[in-house]
């Protein structure tokens, strides 16, 4: 199909080519800048701790370990099992504390409450505390990201 009149003049084509290609060039430079400025946050895949540090825990006791740059909470339940949580409130990322006399986790920032199994029971948090998987291998306690069920 041959057009009767051109869609644009040669000058417009050239100007469009120049402007458009310069814009594309600038756009291609934006990606490396963005990639540089927003580094990927790396959570550790697993953390290995010496089990000896956590042997003498009483039931209902909570100890802190390092999960990357966040606190991890290791809790010995009443039935003797060990659970690991990421000790960060699911509302707005404040660090939570364990109140042993109330058997609850408490976030002081906006008064969020979790029960002794990490389930959210009061305040703004809408999801339970994140759990981590625990394995004891010989002398080591290996804590990994919880596998999705």
């Amino acid at each position: 199909m041959k057009l009767k009149y051109s869609l644009f003049s040669r000058r417009q084509f050239l100007n469009g080519l120049l402007g458009g290609w310069v814009a594309a060039l600038m756009g291609s430079l934006v990606y490396p800048v963005i990639a540089f400025i927003f580094p990927p946050y790396k959570e550790p895949d697993e953390v290995i701790l010496p089990f000896a540090d956590f042997k003498g825990m009483a039931p209902g006791e909570v100890r802190i370990f390092a999960w990357g740059s966040k606190p991890g909470l290791l809790k010995k339940n009443e039935d003797g099992t060990l659970w690991a949580f990421v000790g960060v409130c699911t509302h707005l990322d404040c660090n939570v504390a364990y109140l042993p006399d109330q058997k609850k986790f408490f976030c002081a920032c906006h008064e969020g409450w979790y029960d002794e199994y990490g389930k959210n029971i009061g305040g703004p948090p809408s999801t339970p505390l994140r759990r981590l998987s625990l394995v004891i291998e010989g002398q080591d306690l290996i804590i990994k990201k919880e596998a999705p069920e």
């Binding site: 490396p32 800048v33 540089f36």
Partner: protein
């Protein structure tokens, strides 16, 4: 409302408030003379291009750099290994510094040789020489920031040189170092100078320099001015800008290619107690000064060789700084000698730089 009206509409909105059309009219009318020497006009905007690249890559690097004695080297290491494409950004910053200082030297030499500093452009020259000094100081302070053995030793030598100046020498050295020796305090000081103090000064001086160039217009080489012939001009916008863009594109291409294939590496953290490493040398733009200091013997008559050398270098700098006032009769024989001194400076700088590497 047509989408075609969006562009002009926005332009008019801004123009009503900022008066930008006055600037555009000025740029369209500003004549750029086309003579044999007009090629050197491209050096000015090329410097601005590399300076802009330095600012942008500098903004990015400062997000991760840690200016403390314990973490400086490690943070640069993290930039190179953990941050995505960090090694390229650091490489571009390092090479762009080299390119910028090289073109600053070419710019100054070209103006020296065609004598653009004649009346009324003396202040433009003075601000320009100060800009050269600031650029070199940028390079000197930036070189220490990775805090490895080589940069520590180079800084020790570099900050020791002013000590040879009589009367104020020791004071200048301790001002630069933040104490008697090069320590973590020196790093803090150099970092502050590199990212805060010098940028403010360079922006002020650049503003004055560029304002004066616009106000006084482009200079004519001596021959054309004397002959008073009609010189062919082209308007700055868009004719000269299109030509400048071609130069910028080529320079950016060369910069990226060199930065990707010859990136700088990072040595281990500096050890304040270790002996100076072998093969110690400053950045390339200081090599000729380094060699000049080396050739002077320890004692000349009653004076320390160092003192004589440093005073000679200072004298040379003052000669360059006051060149417009020294060259008050550019058309006569004195003017020719000053032109020859420009060529002599080029030859001296190249020979001494190469000599210091052998």
């Amino acid at each position: 409302m047509n989408i075609k009206d969006l562009g002009p509409g926005l332009q008019n909105w801004l123009d009503d408030r900022l008066g930008l059309s006055a600037i555009m009219d000025f740029m369209k009318k500003k004549p750029v003379p086309q003579t044999r020497h007009s090629i050197w006009f491209y050096t000015g905007s090329s410097i601005l291009l590399f300076f802009a690249i330095q600012v942008i890559t500098g903004f990015m690097l400062i997000l991760y750099y840690n200016p403390t004695l314990e973490e400086a080297n490690a943070s640069v290491g993290r930039i190179m290994t953990e941050v995505p494409l960090g090694w390229i950004i650091r490489s571009v910053h390092s090479w762009s510094a080299t390119f910028m200082i090289a073109i600053v030297f070419i710019h100054m030499i070209s103006i020296w040789l065609i004598k653009s500093y004649r009346k009324p452009r003396e202040i433009t020259w003075l601000t320009g020489v100060l800009l050269l000094g600031i650029s070199l100081f940028f390079g000197f302070t930036g070189y220490l920031l990775p805090w490895d053995d080589l940069s520590l030793s180079a800084t020790k030598v570099g900050t020791d040189i002013p000590r040879s100046i009589p009367v104020v020498g020791a004071w200048v050295t301790s001002l630069l170092r933040g104490g008697e020796d090069v320590t973590g305090d020196t790093l803090t000081r150099f970092f502050g100078i590199h990212v805060c103090i010098l940028p403010i000064f360079i922006l002020i001086l650049l503003a004055i320099h560029i304002y004066l160039i616009q106000k006084q217009g482009m200079s004519l080489p001596l021959k054309e001015e004397v002959a008073k012939k009609e010189v062919r001009n082209i308007p700055f916008w868009p004719n000269f800008i299109y030509r400048e863009m071609i130069v910028w594109l080529i320079l950016v291409g060369i910069l990226f290619t060199i930065a990707i294939f010859l990136p700088p590496s990072l040595d281990r953290q500096a050890d304040l107690m270790a002996a100076a490493p072998e093969g110690l040398k400053p950045e390339w733009y200081f090599l000729f000064l380094f060699q000049t200091l080396k050739i002077f013997p320890a004692k000349i008559l009653f004076f320390h060789g160092d003192t004589v050398a440093v005073l000679l270098i200072l004298l040379g700098f003052l000669y360059i700084f006051f060149l417009p006032f020294i060259d008050n009769k550019p058309t006569e024989f004195k003017g020719k000698i000053i032109t020859w001194s420009g060529y002599a400076f080029i030859i001296y700088a190249i020979i001494f730089s190469v000599w210091s590497l052998l």
